[in-house]
């Protein structure tokens, strides 16, 4: 542990002692977890003596990585999102403590319960022992997603009523297409593209197609925006919880269904449409068991196209970050754009 890490751990322990009203807090373990390109997650084990939190705790601390992607939210709003989702019965880690003071560990952070299980997409889609009944897991994932979508905006979604409100998470381009989430998303993606150095005819083609075929009817619900294999924990073959809520906000629920089933998020299970773990049917059946309806093939194709477009543009943003913070992972992320563009063309071919 470096001197700087030691100072951070001491500051964290002091902060925890104050907020938990404890006599003493000992940080037993504070280790960075691999994985987040945008957020840093740490394993945090603490011994709390005295006060309402007395005892040994296994937590995860989540904070900002050095730089952020445009689509990502602040830790404070992610904490709020997690609180609302958890309260709605969605399987997700329970948020416990929020610190908006960047002085404590160098950036704002929150602490949540640590759920058991494996998240890594390449393992979940490859190791049969992790999910002996993949259809049952897909069904749970569908039902859980529908519970997220059951959260509906208050009558005035942007009203400044303090803690109860969630700001829409997409920055910029709001209002031009008031209401239609597909058109709002397209305007946002174009704004992101315009901030890149190069131009992307294939992505423009996909966006134009999606603009012209935008669904005329839609509902607005709470959407996760990164609900996919790799972002949920599987424990003992069951869904333990959904992670990475940084992109959540109001939107068309079909966006999440397209994202989850898109080919780009199937890892080793290329032909298994439900996130690379199972065929589509059990996933949609689970969804329908809570939502009361599934999704049409046309709508799914549309939102899978949107998924590839969104991921391609975010991948380009991440590749651009490689210049500021050299990372082979970020550099290679830039090279997956070719595959995403190829899929966009495959998915939009029939509509030409």
């Amino acid at each position: 542990m470096t001197a700087r890490d030691g100072a951070r751990t001491d500051a964290l322990a002091a902060w925890l002692r104050a907020v938990t009203d404890a006599d003493d807090v000992r940080v037993v373990r504070f280790e960075r977890l691999r994985g987040g390109a945008i957020q840093d997650n740490y394993l945090l084990d603490v011994d709390v003596r005295g006060g309402g939190w007395h005892g040994r705790h296994s937590w995860v601390l989540r904070t900002n990585a050095r730089s952020r992607v445009d689509a990502s939210e602040t830790r404070a709003s992610e904490y709020e999102v997690l609180r609302i989702a958890h309260a709605a019965g969605v399987r997700a880690p329970k948020p416990l403590l929020l610190c908006t003071d960047p002085a404590v560990i160098g950036s704002e952070f929150f602490i949540m319960e640590r759920l058991p299980g494996v998240a890594a997409g390449h393992r979940v889609t490859r190791e049969a022992a992790l999910a002996p009944d993949p259809s049952a897991l897909a069904y749970e994932l569908g039902a859980n997603l529908a519970r997220i979508h059951a959260i509906r905006p208050p009558p005035q979604p942007c009203a400044a009523n303090g803690k109860g409100s969630i700001e829409p998470s997409r920055s910029g381009a709001q209002g031009a297409h008031q209401g239609n989430p597909a058109l709002e998303a397209i305007a946002t993606y174009r704004a992101w593209l315009d901030r890149l150095d190069d131009a992307y005819p294939i992505l423009e083609w996909g966006l134009r197609r999606c603009e012209r075929l935008a669904p005329a009817t839609y509902e607005v619900a709470f959407v996760h925006r990164d609900y996919r294999t790799g972002n949920y924990l599987v424990d003992d073959g069951r869904l333990a919880g959904v992670l990475d809520w940084e992109f959540a906000g109001w939107g068309d629920p079909r966006e999440d269904l397209g994202w989850f089933t898109a080919r780009c998020w199937r890892f080793a299970g290329r032909d298994l449409e439900a996130g690379g773990i199972a065929p589509l049917e059990p996933f949609v059946a689970g969804y329908a068991s809570v939502a009361g309806h599934g999704i049409s093939r046309t709508d799914l194709d549309y939102w899978q196209t949107m998924a590839h477009l969104r991921w391609a543009i975010i991948a380009l943003q991440q590749a651009q970050r490689h210049r500021a913070e050299r990372s082979l992972e970020l550099a290679l992320t830039g090279r997956i754009v070719d595959e995403l563009e190829y899929e966009v063309l495959r998915l939009t071919k029939g509509s030409a």
Binding site: P201, E204, W205, R208, R212, L332, D338, E339, E341, A352
Partner: protein
């Protein structure tokens, strides 16, 4: 793990035909990594080693075919750009400028009708396939 075959002659070199060129250096470096280093690695380090192997494979394919792919992209984009900004032929060899013109025209709806869309799509599909053949040929379908 399969070795990336390298049948093409080295596209880049130090100009001396008696020493290995860029493609050969990359291929040899990758073979050493895959055959000798990766077996000794596990967990996180093995994962990172695989990323390095992937990066070297992409770089080797790009050395062999990247230049031709961009040349072909320019050939394909030029007539589309000319359609987009008639009557002048941009005549440009700058692939970035051509991409910008075509991208803006697509966004403005100038390729919406069936005939234009068909020509555009054919060109974009060829460009996408050329690029995917470099970055991840296994994903070509």
């Amino acid at each position: 793990m399969t070795h990336d075959a390298n049948p093409e002659p080295a596209a880049e070199s130090n100009g001396c035909s008696d020493v290995p060129g860029t493609a050969e250096l990359l291929a040899t470096a990758r073979e050493t990594l895959v055959d000798e280093l990766l077996p000794a690695l596990s967990g996180e380090l093995r994962y990172r080693g695989l990323m390095v192997a992937n990066a070297l494979a992409i770089a080797a394919r790009e050395v062999a075919r990247g230049r031709d792919a961009i040349r072909r992209e320019i050939e394909l984009l030029r007539p589309l750009a000319a359609q987009a900004v008639p009557p002048s032929d941009p005549g440009s060899d700058d692939v970035h400028a051509l991409r910008r013109i075509v991208a803006a025209a697509i966004r403005a709806g100038r390729f919406d009708d069936d005939t234009h869309a068909k020509a555009l799509l054919a060109a974009l599909e060829e460009i996408a396939s050329l690029r995917l053949a470099i970055s991840n040929p296994k994903a070509l379908r």
